[in-house]
């Protein structure tokens, strides 16, 4: 797996999606499983360390969605890794709500499913794809160089699913410091377009 460059790997994985759509190819699905199940499990374990059963369940759920929704994935316009991330994020938040982790009447699927499909939204322009590839490079190289204190808050927020308040408590930092570290990291990685 590591012997291939990541661009080749992505092409191979995208091709697997296409094979699922065209003829329900189980081998293609198996390749996707081999690549993504360990990552999805790691994503689940980041939030719930040691909870291997939850991690299995999340991996299953995400990959079933991949099987069912392969047709709505637009390989030309979006990054497959990002698509998988949004599916995993949505499944994870949904899982925790179903299991009573959130004391709230709000249904997260109504919020996040809106933004689940990486198919071109009404605002998506073709030239953004070039930007997308450049962004991917920026983020990859930028993450490696990010000061530890900034990557630490990104890990808390994105992978461990901690709110700013929880992050502030756990790292014993003022809330404002947590927010400004996230902001600085985003700026350094050049993630956002200016408004």
């Amino acid at each position: 797996m590591q012997s291939k460059t990541s661009a080749d790997k992505v092409t191979e994985l995208k091709d697997c999606i296409a094979r699922i759509v065209s003829h329900g190819d189980k081998d293609a699905f198996s390749t996707l499983f081999d690549h993504y199940a360990p990552l999805i499990r790691a994503y689940s374990l980041a939030r719930e360390p040691g909870a291997n059963l939850i991690a299995d369940e999340l991996a299953q759920e995400v990959l079933i969605r991949v099987w069912l929704k392969a047709g709505s994935y637009n390989s030309q316009l979006s990054n497959i890794n990002t698509w998988i991330f949004t599916l995993a994020r949505n499944c994870r938040i949904d899982y925790f709500r179903r299991n009573g982790r959130y004391v709230s009447d709000i249904d997260p699927t109504e919020i996040f499913n809106n933004i689940e499909d990486e198919s071109p939204g009404p605002f998506q322009l073709a030239h953004q794809i070039t930007h997308q590839n450049r962004l991917e490079e920026n983020i990859k190289t930028g993450l490696a160089k990010l000061p530890r204190e900034q990557s630490e808050v990104l890990t808390k927020v994105y992978l461990e699913g901690k709110s700013h308040q929880q992050t502030s408590t756990e790292l014993k930092l003022p809330l404002g410091t947590v927010k400004s570290r996230v902001r600085l990291a985003l700026r350094k990685l050049q993630v956002l377009v200016t408004r």
């Binding site: 759509v21 003829h23 329900g24 189980k26 699905f29 499983f33 081999d34 199940a37 360990p38 990552l39 499990r41 790691a42 994503y43 374990l45 991690a55 299953q60 079933i64 099987w67 069912l68 929704k69 047709g71 709505s72 890794n81 990002t82 998988i84 991330f85 949004t86 995993a88 994020r89 949505n90 994870r92 959130y102 004391v103 709230s104 009447d105 709000i106 997260p108 919020i111 809106n114 933004i115 198919s119 009404p122 605002f123 962004l135 993450l143 927020v157 994105y158 992978l159 901690k162 709110s163 700013h164 400004s180 996230v182 902001r183 985003l186 700026r187 993630v191 956002l192 377009v193 408004r195």
Partner: protein
């Protein structure tokens, strides 16, 4: 569509992309996103950051049984099922006047809501409570009406659904998103052309500071309890 001036802060949008934001706040941002092309674009970019962070995790391979059980499960599903899924997920619902993320609370329109009178100028309708008992409600301010000068004990998140209002800091229109906290004292006034409907999330009861505020405070506290 691109004229909005009031957006969620960068770190708030990032927390939304990470789904680590309290759901009540995520609801407000979700409404804003339906109106804002720039934040939608930024959200995609923040999703890409999430995906890179996920790729950097140490992989945690499952046991071989997991794959077998999953392959068995998809054997039970027909390819047709996948085709159906495609159709439903591409159904366009964007022409409906209500924000999609509010469909879980409002089925028809703002007119059919059992509004509760809060003052001469304001009606409210509580949708639900979020984490930490945050109050999620709709406010309807009549044309030219005021919500009263108030400060907040906790943060207040507001997104405008219809109409517009102004306060000391500016004019807010449909889709605009703003956060007010205990440092702000503000007096929102709806513009006179039409009523203003907002979605607000309040983490703790707001504190009215004007003369009428003093009269209203006990009422508000009671309605919050």
């Amino acid at each position: 569509m691109n004229t909005l001036k009031n957006h969620p802060e960068d770190e708030l949008l990032a927390a939304y992309a990470a789904a680590s934001l309290p759901l009540s706040q995520a609801l407000c941002i979700s409404v804003h996103l339906e109106h804002c092309s720039i934040c939608t674009q930024n959200l995609r970019r923040l999703n890409q950051l999430g995906s890179e962070l996920m790729q950097n995790l140490q992989p945690a391979p499952p046991s071989p049984e997991l794959k077998h059980s999953l392959l068995n499960q998809i054997d039970q599903m027909s390819v047709n099922e996948a085709a159906n899924e495609t159709v439903t997920s591409q159904t366009n619902t964007s022409n409906q006047p209500l924000p999609r993320c509010l469909h879980q609370f409002i089925k028809t329109g703002y007119k059919d809501i059992p509004w509760k009178r809060l003052s001469r100028d304001i009606h409210s309708h509580e949708l639900c409570r979020g984490q930490n008992n945050a109050k999620v409600e709709l406010l309807r301010i009549k044309p030219g009406g005021t919500a009263g000068t108030h400060t907040h004990m906790g943060d207040e998140y507001t997104v405008i659904l219809e109409g517009s209002f102004s306060d000391e800091s500016g004019l807010y229109r449909q889709g605009d998103f703003l956060v007010r906290d205990s440092r702000h004292k503000h007096t929102p006034v709806a513009t006179i052309d039409k009523e203003c409907i907002c979605l607000t999330v309040t983490e703790a009861p707001i504190q009215l500071t004007g003369f009428f505020g003093l009269l209203l405070n006990p009422l508000i506290r009671r309605s919050y309890a």
